[in-house]
Subunit: 199 residues, 2 copies
Protein backbone atom coordinates (compact mmCIF):
# COMPACT_ATOMS: atom_id res chain seq x y z
CA UNK A 1 0.00 0.00 0.00
CA UNK A 2 1.25 3.49 -0.91
CA UNK A 3 1.84 5.71 2.13
CA UNK A 4 2.67 9.41 2.17
CA UNK A 5 4.65 10.93 5.02
CA UNK A 6 4.59 14.73 5.18
CA UNK A 7 8.28 15.37 5.31
CA UNK A 8 10.59 18.15 6.47
CA UNK A 9 13.85 16.20 6.76
CA UNK A 10 13.60 16.40 10.54
CA UNK A 11 13.82 13.60 13.11
CA UNK A 12 10.13 13.00 13.66
CA UNK A 13 8.98 12.74 10.06
CA UNK A 14 12.06 10.62 9.28
CA UNK A 15 11.15 8.21 12.11
CA UNK A 16 7.59 8.00 10.80
CA UNK A 17 8.96 7.15 7.34
CA UNK A 18 11.23 4.40 8.67
CA UNK A 19 8.45 2.83 10.77
CA UNK A 20 6.07 2.66 7.81
CA UNK A 21 8.83 1.37 5.54
CA UNK A 22 9.64 -1.37 8.05
CA UNK A 23 6.00 -2.34 8.29
CA UNK A 24 5.95 -2.97 4.56
CA UNK A 25 4.29 0.18 3.19
CA UNK A 26 5.46 1.72 -0.09
CA UNK A 27 6.59 5.00 1.48
CA UNK A 28 6.84 8.36 -0.29
CA UNK A 29 8.21 11.25 1.73
CA UNK A 30 6.32 14.33 0.55
CA UNK A 31 7.29 17.97 1.05
CA UNK A 32 4.70 20.62 0.26
CA UNK A 33 5.78 23.65 -1.73
CA UNK A 34 3.82 26.81 -2.51
CA UNK A 35 6.01 28.28 -5.25
CA UNK A 36 7.56 31.07 -3.16
CA UNK A 37 10.94 29.39 -2.71
CA UNK A 38 12.38 25.94 -3.48
CA UNK A 39 12.65 25.11 0.20
CA UNK A 40 12.35 21.36 -0.36
CA UNK A 41 16.05 20.71 -1.04
CA UNK A 42 17.11 19.97 2.58
CA UNK A 43 14.19 17.48 2.89
CA UNK A 44 15.14 15.91 -0.45
CA UNK A 45 18.69 15.43 0.79
CA UNK A 46 17.57 13.92 4.11
CA UNK A 47 15.20 11.53 2.33
CA UNK A 48 18.02 10.36 0.10
CA UNK A 49 20.28 9.86 3.12
CA UNK A 50 17.82 7.39 4.66
CA UNK A 51 17.06 5.63 1.39
CA UNK A 52 13.43 6.60 0.98
CA UNK A 53 11.63 8.10 -2.03
CA UNK A 54 10.97 11.85 -1.96
CA UNK A 55 8.37 13.91 -3.79
CA UNK A 56 7.54 17.61 -3.90
CA UNK A 57 3.84 18.41 -3.79
CA UNK A 58 3.17 21.75 -5.48
CA UNK A 59 0.23 23.48 -3.84
CA UNK A 60 -1.60 26.67 -4.64
CA UNK A 61 -0.08 29.78 -3.12
CA UNK A 62 -3.53 30.86 -1.91
CA UNK A 63 -3.23 28.35 0.97
CA UNK A 64 0.06 29.89 2.05
CA UNK A 65 -1.36 33.40 1.64
CA UNK A 66 -4.25 32.67 3.96
CA UNK A 67 -1.84 31.25 6.56
CA UNK A 68 0.41 34.29 6.26
CA UNK A 69 -2.55 36.66 6.64
CA UNK A 70 -3.52 34.86 9.86
CA UNK A 71 0.05 34.97 11.19
CA UNK A 72 0.51 38.69 10.39
CA UNK A 73 -2.81 39.50 12.05
CA UNK A 74 -2.04 37.36 15.12
CA UNK A 75 1.61 38.46 15.36
CA UNK A 76 2.09 34.82 16.32
CA UNK A 77 2.59 31.79 14.07
CA UNK A 78 0.68 28.92 15.74
CA UNK A 79 -2.80 29.22 14.24
CA UNK A 80 -1.51 30.01 10.75
CA UNK A 81 0.82 27.00 10.77
CA UNK A 82 -1.99 24.83 12.10
CA UNK A 83 -4.24 26.01 9.25
CA UNK A 84 -1.48 25.34 6.71
CA UNK A 85 -0.74 21.84 8.01
CA UNK A 86 -4.38 20.87 7.96
CA UNK A 87 -4.80 22.18 4.41
CA UNK A 88 -1.75 20.18 3.29
CA UNK A 89 -3.06 17.00 4.95
CA UNK A 90 -6.45 17.47 3.23
CA UNK A 91 -4.72 17.80 -0.13
CA UNK A 92 -2.40 14.78 0.13
CA UNK A 93 -5.35 12.71 1.36
CA UNK A 94 -6.69 12.95 -2.21
CA UNK A 95 -3.66 11.10 -3.55
CA UNK A 96 -2.73 8.39 -1.02
CA UNK A 97 -4.38 5.52 0.85
CA UNK A 98 -2.39 6.27 3.97
CA UNK A 99 -1.29 9.75 5.04
CA UNK A 100 1.13 10.21 7.94
CA UNK A 101 2.97 13.02 9.64
CA UNK A 102 5.60 13.22 12.36
CA UNK A 103 3.47 14.85 15.05
CA UNK A 104 4.15 13.30 18.44
CA UNK A 105 2.16 12.42 21.55
CA UNK A 106 3.61 15.40 23.41
CA UNK A 107 3.21 17.92 20.55
CA UNK A 108 0.57 20.63 20.76
CA UNK A 109 0.52 22.33 17.35
CA UNK A 110 0.35 21.80 14.40
CA UNK A 111 -1.43 18.58 15.22
CA UNK A 112 -4.69 16.93 14.21
CA UNK A 113 -6.87 16.02 17.19
CA UNK A 114 -8.82 12.77 17.42
CA UNK A 115 -11.99 14.24 15.95
CA UNK A 116 -10.15 15.78 13.01
CA UNK A 117 -8.42 12.44 12.39
CA UNK A 118 -11.68 10.47 12.39
CA UNK A 119 -13.35 13.06 10.15
CA UNK A 120 -10.43 12.99 7.70
CA UNK A 121 -10.35 9.19 7.57
CA UNK A 122 -14.09 8.95 6.97
CA UNK A 123 -14.48 11.80 4.47
CA UNK A 124 -11.49 10.82 2.35
CA UNK A 125 -11.70 7.06 2.95
CA UNK A 126 -8.03 6.94 3.92
CA UNK A 127 -5.89 5.95 6.86
CA UNK A 128 -4.04 8.57 8.88
CA UNK A 129 -1.07 8.00 11.17
CA UNK A 130 1.10 10.11 13.45
CA UNK A 131 3.57 9.41 16.27
CA UNK A 132 0.97 9.44 19.08
CA UNK A 133 2.21 6.04 20.26
CA UNK A 134 5.55 7.56 21.22
CA UNK A 135 6.58 9.78 24.12
CA UNK A 136 9.50 12.18 23.88
CA UNK A 137 11.89 9.81 25.66
CA UNK A 138 11.17 6.95 23.27
CA UNK A 139 11.53 9.20 20.22
CA UNK A 140 14.83 10.56 21.52
CA UNK A 141 16.10 7.02 22.10
CA UNK A 142 15.02 5.80 18.66
CA UNK A 143 16.27 8.86 16.80
CA UNK A 144 19.71 8.68 18.41
CA UNK A 145 19.82 4.97 17.74
CA UNK A 146 18.78 5.18 14.10
CA UNK A 147 19.92 8.43 12.56
CA UNK A 148 22.99 10.49 11.83
CA UNK A 149 21.95 14.04 12.70
CA UNK A 150 23.01 17.51 11.62
CA UNK A 151 22.34 20.34 14.04
CA UNK A 152 22.48 23.79 12.51
CA UNK A 153 21.02 27.27 12.49
CA UNK A 154 17.64 27.23 10.76
CA UNK A 155 17.49 29.32 7.60
CA UNK A 156 16.05 29.14 4.11
CA UNK A 157 18.84 26.90 2.86
CA UNK A 158 18.92 24.46 5.76
CA UNK A 159 15.21 24.01 6.51
CA UNK A 160 12.24 22.57 4.63
CA UNK A 161 9.75 23.55 7.33
CA UNK A 162 6.61 25.51 6.41
CA UNK A 163 8.34 28.39 8.17
CA UNK A 164 10.70 29.12 5.25
CA UNK A 165 8.06 30.08 2.70
CA UNK A 166 5.90 31.71 5.38
CA UNK A 167 8.78 34.02 6.38
CA UNK A 168 9.63 34.93 2.80
CA UNK A 169 6.01 35.76 2.02
CA UNK A 170 5.64 37.84 5.20
CA UNK A 171 8.71 39.87 4.24
CA UNK A 172 7.47 40.22 0.65
CA UNK A 173 4.21 41.62 2.02
CA UNK A 174 6.14 44.27 3.97
CA UNK A 175 6.05 42.50 7.31
CA UNK A 176 9.06 41.60 9.41
CA UNK A 177 9.24 37.83 9.84
CA UNK A 178 12.02 38.13 12.43
CA UNK A 179 9.54 39.73 14.82
CA UNK A 180 7.36 36.64 14.58
CA UNK A 181 9.84 33.77 14.31
CA UNK A 182 12.75 33.71 16.74
CA UNK A 183 16.13 32.56 15.46
CA UNK A 184 16.54 28.88 16.31
CA UNK A 185 18.55 25.75 15.69
CA UNK A 186 17.18 22.64 14.08
CA UNK A 187 18.17 19.05 13.55
CA UNK A 188 18.04 17.41 10.16
CA UNK A 189 18.58 13.75 9.47
CA UNK A 190 21.71 13.13 7.41
CA UNK A 191 22.03 9.36 7.36
CA UNK A 192 21.24 5.98 8.89
CA UNK A 193 23.28 4.37 11.66
CA UNK A 194 21.82 0.92 10.97
CA UNK A 195 20.49 -0.98 8.04
CA UNK A 196 16.71 -0.85 7.86
CA UNK A 197 15.04 -4.10 6.88
CA UNK A 198 11.56 -4.14 5.44
CA UNK A 199 9.13 -6.90 6.27
CA UNK B 1 16.82 -1.67 25.67
CA UNK B 2 14.51 -4.20 27.34
CA UNK B 3 10.84 -3.63 26.51
CA UNK B 4 7.82 -5.36 28.02
CA UNK B 5 4.61 -5.78 26.03
CA UNK B 6 1.58 -6.78 28.09
CA UNK B 7 0.46 -9.77 26.10
CA UNK B 8 -2.71 -11.76 25.58
CA UNK B 9 -1.83 -13.54 22.34
CA UNK B 10 -4.27 -11.30 20.46
CA UNK B 11 -3.72 -9.21 17.34
CA UNK B 12 -3.07 -5.87 18.97
CA UNK B 13 -0.49 -6.89 21.55
CA UNK B 14 1.21 -9.07 18.91
CA UNK B 15 1.45 -6.07 16.56
CA UNK B 16 2.92 -3.97 19.36
CA UNK B 17 5.52 -6.69 19.98
CA UNK B 18 6.52 -6.89 16.32
CA UNK B 19 6.83 -3.10 15.98
CA UNK B 20 9.12 -2.84 19.01
CA UNK B 21 11.13 -5.85 17.88
CA UNK B 22 11.60 -4.27 14.46
CA UNK B 23 12.71 -1.02 16.03
CA UNK B 24 15.50 -2.87 17.81
CA UNK B 25 14.13 -3.28 21.34
CA UNK B 26 14.78 -6.47 23.31
CA UNK B 27 11.11 -7.46 23.54
CA UNK B 28 9.56 -9.63 26.24
CA UNK B 29 5.88 -10.45 25.87
CA UNK B 30 4.49 -10.57 29.40
CA UNK B 31 1.22 -12.15 30.55
CA UNK B 32 0.01 -11.37 34.06
CA UNK B 33 -1.27 -14.23 36.19
CA UNK B 34 -2.97 -14.09 39.58
CA UNK B 35 -2.72 -17.75 40.60
CA UNK B 36 -6.39 -18.62 40.01
CA UNK B 37 -5.83 -20.48 36.74
CA UNK B 38 -2.88 -21.00 34.38
CA UNK B 39 -4.54 -18.92 31.69
CA UNK B 40 -1.25 -17.89 30.10
CA UNK B 41 -0.84 -20.93 27.84
CA UNK B 42 -2.63 -19.52 24.75
CA UNK B 43 -0.49 -16.34 24.99
CA UNK B 44 2.64 -18.44 25.40
CA UNK B 45 1.76 -20.38 22.26
CA UNK B 46 1.05 -17.20 20.26
CA UNK B 47 4.33 -15.63 21.39
CA UNK B 48 6.23 -18.71 20.24
CA UNK B 49 4.43 -18.65 16.90
CA UNK B 50 5.74 -15.14 16.16
CA UNK B 51 9.24 -15.83 17.49
CA UNK B 52 9.22 -13.52 20.50
CA UNK B 53 10.17 -14.24 24.14
CA UNK B 54 7.31 -14.82 26.57
CA UNK B 55 7.19 -14.44 30.35
CA UNK B 56 4.52 -14.98 32.96
CA UNK B 57 4.34 -12.30 35.62
CA UNK B 58 2.89 -13.71 38.83
CA UNK B 59 0.95 -11.04 40.68
CA UNK B 60 -0.78 -11.04 44.04
CA UNK B 61 -4.34 -12.31 43.96
CA UNK B 62 -5.45 -9.29 46.01
CA UNK B 63 -5.32 -7.17 42.82
CA UNK B 64 -7.65 -9.57 41.04
CA UNK B 65 -9.90 -9.76 44.10
CA UNK B 66 -10.37 -6.00 44.17
CA UNK B 67 -11.20 -6.00 40.45
CA UNK B 68 -13.70 -8.83 40.92
CA UNK B 69 -15.35 -7.04 43.84
CA UNK B 70 -15.81 -3.97 41.63
CA UNK B 71 -17.21 -6.03 38.76
CA UNK B 72 -19.66 -7.95 40.98
CA UNK B 73 -20.86 -4.71 42.54
CA UNK B 74 -21.19 -2.96 39.17
CA UNK B 75 -22.69 -5.98 37.38
CA UNK B 76 -20.52 -4.71 34.54
CA UNK B 77 -16.85 -5.43 33.81
CA UNK B 78 -15.40 -2.15 32.47
CA UNK B 79 -14.23 -0.38 35.61
CA UNK B 80 -12.86 -3.55 37.21
CA UNK B 81 -10.87 -4.45 34.09
CA UNK B 82 -9.61 -0.87 33.87
CA UNK B 83 -8.47 -1.07 37.50
CA UNK B 84 -6.77 -4.42 36.86
CA UNK B 85 -4.96 -3.22 33.72
CA UNK B 86 -3.67 -0.12 35.47
CA UNK B 87 -2.43 -2.17 38.43
CA UNK B 88 -0.61 -4.54 36.08
CA UNK B 89 1.01 -1.65 34.18
CA UNK B 90 2.17 -0.12 37.49
CA UNK B 91 3.75 -3.43 38.49
CA UNK B 92 5.61 -4.17 35.26
CA UNK B 93 6.86 -0.58 35.23
CA UNK B 94 9.07 -1.60 38.18
CA UNK B 95 10.91 -4.13 36.04
CA UNK B 96 11.32 -2.63 32.55
CA UNK B 97 12.62 0.56 30.94
CA UNK B 98 9.84 0.52 28.38
CA UNK B 99 6.33 -0.78 29.03
CA UNK B 100 3.86 -1.20 26.17
CA UNK B 101 0.38 -2.52 25.64
CA UNK B 102 -1.81 -3.13 22.62
CA UNK B 103 -4.44 -0.47 23.32
CA UNK B 104 -5.42 1.35 20.14
CA UNK B 105 -6.37 4.88 19.13
CA UNK B 106 -10.02 3.88 18.85
CA UNK B 107 -10.18 1.87 22.10
CA UNK B 108 -12.05 3.21 25.10
CA UNK B 109 -11.25 0.86 28.00
CA UNK B 110 -9.02 -0.48 29.47
CA UNK B 111 -6.77 2.32 28.32
CA UNK B 112 -4.42 4.79 29.97
CA UNK B 113 -5.23 8.40 29.14
CA UNK B 114 -2.57 11.03 28.40
CA UNK B 115 -2.37 12.22 32.00
CA UNK B 116 -2.01 8.70 33.35
CA UNK B 117 0.72 8.02 30.79
CA UNK B 118 2.70 11.14 31.73
CA UNK B 119 2.30 10.41 35.43
CA UNK B 120 3.45 6.81 34.96
CA UNK B 121 6.47 7.81 32.87
CA UNK B 122 7.54 10.45 35.39
CA UNK B 123 6.93 8.52 38.62
CA UNK B 124 8.57 5.30 37.41
CA UNK B 125 11.16 6.93 35.13
CA UNK B 126 10.14 4.65 32.26
CA UNK B 127 8.80 4.94 28.74
CA UNK B 128 5.28 3.83 27.92
CA UNK B 129 3.88 2.96 24.49
CA UNK B 130 0.56 1.91 23.04
CA UNK B 131 -0.98 1.77 19.55
CA UNK B 132 -2.37 5.33 19.58
CA UNK B 133 -0.63 6.05 16.28
CA UNK B 134 -2.85 3.53 14.53
CA UNK B 135 -6.50 3.66 13.52
CA UNK B 136 -8.63 0.55 13.17
CA UNK B 137 -8.22 0.39 9.38
CA UNK B 138 -4.42 0.48 9.59
CA UNK B 139 -4.35 -2.17 12.31
CA UNK B 140 -6.67 -4.41 10.31
CA UNK B 141 -4.45 -4.02 7.25
CA UNK B 142 -1.23 -4.73 9.16
CA UNK B 143 -2.63 -7.65 11.14
CA UNK B 144 -3.97 -9.36 8.02
CA UNK B 145 -0.69 -8.72 6.26
CA UNK B 146 1.54 -9.98 9.06
CA UNK B 147 -0.19 -12.70 11.04
CA UNK B 148 -1.77 -16.10 10.71
CA UNK B 149 -4.92 -15.87 12.82
CA UNK B 150 -7.09 -18.35 14.71
CA UNK B 151 -10.69 -17.33 15.33
CA UNK B 152 -12.44 -19.35 18.02
CA UNK B 153 -14.92 -19.28 20.86
CA UNK B 154 -13.36 -17.59 23.88
CA UNK B 155 -13.02 -19.86 26.91
CA UNK B 156 -10.53 -20.62 29.64
CA UNK B 157 -8.41 -22.79 27.39
CA UNK B 158 -8.31 -20.52 24.35
CA UNK B 159 -7.92 -17.09 25.96
CA UNK B 160 -5.23 -15.38 28.04
CA UNK B 161 -7.31 -12.25 28.60
CA UNK B 162 -7.83 -10.90 32.13
CA UNK B 163 -11.41 -12.15 31.69
CA UNK B 164 -10.50 -15.82 32.27
CA UNK B 165 -9.29 -15.46 35.85
CA UNK B 166 -11.91 -12.80 36.58
CA UNK B 167 -14.72 -15.18 35.54
CA UNK B 168 -13.33 -18.09 37.52
CA UNK B 169 -12.99 -15.97 40.66
CA UNK B 170 -16.52 -14.53 40.26
CA UNK B 171 -17.93 -18.07 40.02
CA UNK B 172 -15.83 -19.22 42.99
CA UNK B 173 -17.30 -16.35 45.01
CA UNK B 174 -20.83 -17.57 44.21
CA UNK B 175 -21.49 -15.11 41.40
CA UNK B 176 -22.49 -16.01 37.87
CA UNK B 177 -19.88 -14.77 35.43
CA UNK B 178 -22.07 -15.59 32.43
CA UNK B 179 -24.45 -12.82 33.53
CA UNK B 180 -21.60 -10.33 33.27
CA UNK B 181 -19.56 -11.53 30.30
CA UNK B 182 -21.40 -12.45 27.12
CA UNK B 183 -20.18 -15.43 25.14
CA UNK B 184 -17.90 -14.18 22.37
CA UNK B 185 -15.39 -15.14 19.74
CA UNK B 186 -11.79 -14.01 19.75
CA UNK B 187 -8.82 -14.00 17.45
CA UNK B 188 -5.44 -15.27 18.52
CA UNK B 189 -2.24 -14.98 16.54
CA UNK B 190 -0.94 -18.37 15.43
CA UNK B 191 1.98 -17.50 13.17
CA UNK B 192 3.76 -15.02 10.92
CA UNK B 193 3.04 -14.61 7.22
CA UNK B 194 6.34 -12.82 6.60
CA UNK B 195 9.80 -12.85 8.01
CA UNK B 196 10.33 -10.04 10.51
CA UNK B 197 13.66 -8.29 10.27
CA UNK B 198 15.07 -6.37 13.18
CA UNK B 199 17.05 -3.21 12.72
Amino acid sequence: MKACVLYSGGKDSSLMGIILDQLGFDVELVTANFGVYDSFHPAQKSAESIGLKHKVLNLDISILEKAVDMIMEDGFPNDGIKYLHEAVVEEVANHYELVADGTRRDDKTPKLNRNQIRSLEDRKDIQYMNLDSFGYKTIKYLVNNLFELKHEKSNKDTSSDYEVEIRLLIDKKGGNSSDIFPEHYQTNVSGLKKQINRI
